[in-house]
């Protein structure tokens, strides 16, 4: 087996554990696992970032806004979005190397079960515009939901727009809501995405859901 990220041969450590217990086959090597930073200790309870002690400045601003206050319960992220993660995301999402998502499988499943196992929320896909979906060939949000083995719910459509990652925070806030709700839900909802950067995307969606009578909106992302 070769590492999905660095293509080095994966050498399993010989131990009693390995001898006695059934082993999962690993898709990435020790070195790459180490470079991905898991978020073990949640810093900000609102957005799930690690480098904060209480509610962070960004989230405070969200909660003071008239429009978005209280529309998102919380975000949970699996990994910190460090340089190494940026590289992988660039390759996975922008180059379209779909298979790289397997590198996150184990951690994503563990974190999901820790936080959302008993919430009973429906996993909702964040749509891409038609053009982008054709270019990329897959929807990253749907890919994460598939990885969790959940049913994905299509509640939204999206108007054509520029990439979020090419804009700053202010531009993102002012750009207006590119999403439209097709049908509401009376059950709690879990929005699944790849990265939580400013939180605009999930709040756009959360607001629409809340207005249509959804009891609670959570979000779950690979990176924060």
């Amino acid at each position: 087996m070769k590492c999905l990220i660095c293509f080095e041969e994966i050498v399993a450590q010989v131990s009693w554990n390995q001898f006695l217990l059934p082993q999962r086959t690993r898709s990435i090597c020790e070195g790459c696992t180490g470079k991905l930073k898991r978020i073990d200790q949640i810093g900000c309870p609102k957005c799930g970032r690690e480098d904060a002690k209480e509610i962070c400045y960004d989230c405070e601003r969200w909660e003071q806004s008239d429009v978005y206050a209280g529309c998102l319960e919380k975000n949970v992220a699996v990994y910190a979005y460090n340089e190494f993660a940026k590289e992988i995301v660039a390759k996975w999402k922008y180059r379209g190397d779909f298979i790289l998502i397997r590198a996150f499988a184990e951690a994503v499943q563990t974190t999901y079960h820790q936080h959302f196992c008993d919430v009973g929320a429906d996993a909702v896909v964040i749509p891409l515009s038609g053009q982008r979906l054709l270019e990329r060939g897959f929807n990253q949000s749907d890919a994460v939901i598939q990885l969790l083995g959940l049913d994905s719910h299509d509640f939204f459509t999206r108007r054509e727009s520029e990439k979020q990652s090419k804009r700053g925070r202010r531009e993102r806030m002012e750009a207006g809501n590119p999403f439209e709700l097709m049908r509401g839900s009376s059950r709690p909802v879990l929005l699944v995405d790849d990265i939580y950067t400013t939180g605009v995307t999930v709040r756009h969606l959360a607001k629409l859901l809340k207005e249509s009578g959804c009891p609670a909106v959570y979000s779950f992302t690979l990176f924060r």
Partner: protein, 443 residues
């Protein structure tokens, strides 16, 4: 014009594309070939099965195989064809393309003559083995002139982006009326439709049967040296009857063997353009280096050597084995020598820092092996920390030593390998340099 592109790289509407195909200007090719359940990527030649993966493809609603080897150049998928542009295009015949007025030394002239004759007679291969700082670029000028006069299309491919950036202005100056483009990952020009292309070897994935003359610089360098798919791409990018010129200062065993068997025609230039010998590296034992670095210190002996060096007029190029060490060494030396900086492959400001160092804005530059070749600083001393590390093989050490004494004004420079025990690579490098100096002395 001899390009091989995916659908997304072609800025045409579907109707326009169909028209080009029906008129015979382009043809579509299978992108990933499947034979007995083994895949081959028709763009990069990859046939390692672990570098293929399947994904649920939104466009065609089923699972499609794609190639992971060349994905950095855009994804090639099973269900999407590649489009090949016809290579039959008449390039202008230029009467007098070369504006360079410098003079070649007798040795350079000899090599240049060989190159011209190889190009004119359509010889299939020629290896130019020239020591570091022999003036390889200038030696190419007569050959390039001859090719341009015959209306040929030329590609100069090099493994490194830095080298493309350095060569382009020099060639544009020497050939002011020729269409010249630089192609690399982040280059501004992407079209690749000039008569003379200066490109990284990776960009060759996008060409098929396009060039009459293919010059490959530094054939012994990473990543070209041990990447079969880049060799495949460079072969495919050239026309069937193309002339391949290989440039190197440190040929690998494989090439040496072929030269020895007289299967690969070659020309050897043992003397630098200024006629002075290569600086011979000194070996200095520094057994505590790694231990001291672990404690965020440098051994006293090394500090003393650097101190003495900094009193002189030369700048210092300090090579380290890894990025972490480069940063660490910079942090250690910063309080003593504030005009210091470090570069490595992932450094976004690399280009800027190298330029600043060349303009003497820094007195010390700490670097990983990325600056081992192709770059010229006028007056530097070169030290290697932990020269026994595996990244420093013989070729790398010879190249590193070749950074010193490159200008005619300051043709010497001190090269020191600090090590924790001599390795074969160090001794071989030292010996190779001395042997070349000896050969260069002979008239």
């Amino acid at each position: 014009m001899g390009k091989l592109l995916t659908r997304q790289e072609i800025p045409l509407s579907d109707e326009e594309l169909q028209w080009y195909i029906s008129e015979g200007y382009m043809e579509s090719k299978i992108a990933i070939e499947k034979k007995r359940s083994r895949f081959t990527c028709k763009r990069c030649g990859n046939h390692k099965q672990y570098l293929f993966a399947a994904m649920p493809h939104a466009a065609c609603q089923k699972s499609c195989v794609y190639c992971r080897n060349c994905i950095m150049m855009g994804r090639v998928m099973e269900c999407e064809p590649l489009y090949r542009g016809s290579p039959h295009y008449t390039w202008p015949i230029l009467e007098n393309p070369c504006a360079w007025e410098g003079e070649l030394t007798a040795e350079q002239q000899h090599a240049a003559d060989e190159i011209v004759s190889a190009i004119e007679h359509g010889q299939s291969e020629l290896l130019i083995w020239a020591v570091c700082g022999a003036g390889k670029t200038e030696m190419l000028f007569p050959g390039l002139t001859a090719a341009l006069k015959a209306g040929k299309r030329i590609c100069l491919a090099t493994p490194r982006t830095d080298v493309v950036r350095e060569l382009t202005p020099r060639l544009k100056q020497a050939f002011p009326h020729v269409s010249i483009q630089a192609l690399y990952g982040d280059s501004e020009e992407k079209s690749g439709d000039a008569q003379l292309l200066i490109s990284t070897t990776h960009q060759l994935y996008r060409f098929a049967y396009a060039f009459d003359v293919m010059i490959i610089d530094e054939i012994d360098a990473f990543p070209y040296h041990n990447d079969l798919s880049l060799k495949f791409a460079s072969k495919r990018a050239a026309k069937i009857d193309a002339c391949f010129l290989y440039l190197t200062a440190t040929p690998r065993r494989q090439e040496k063997k072929r030269i020895h068997q007289k299967k690969l025609p070659s020309v050897f230039i043992a003397r630098r353009f200024h006629g002075h010998p290569l600086p011979v590296p000194k070996l200095k034992l520094s057994p505590l280096l790694r231990k001291e670095l672990a404690n965020r210190r440098l051994p006293k002996t090394i500090l003393q050597v650097i101190e003495a060096q900094q009193l002189g007029s030369r700048q210092l190029l300090l090579f380290t084995s890894t990025i972490d060490y480069a940063q660490l060494v910079t942090d250690i030396l910063k309080p003593i020598y504030p005009a210091i900086t470090s570069v490595h492959a992932e450094d976004p400001d690399r280009e800027e820092k190298v330029r600043a160092f060349r303009n003497q804005e820094y007195s010390i530059l700490v670097t990983t092996t990325i600056l081992e070749r192709g770059v010229t600083f006028p007056s530097v001393d070169v030290y290697v920390l932990d020269a026994g590390h595996v990244v420093f093989d013989e070729a790398a050490l010879v190249q590193i030593a070749g950074r010193a004494g490159r200008s005619a004004h300051d043709p010497t420079g001190e090269v020191i390998y600090f090590h924790r025990g001599k390795t074969n690579a160090m001794l071989d490098a030292q010996e190779a340099i001395m042997r070349m100096n000896k050969r260069g002395q002979r008239p």
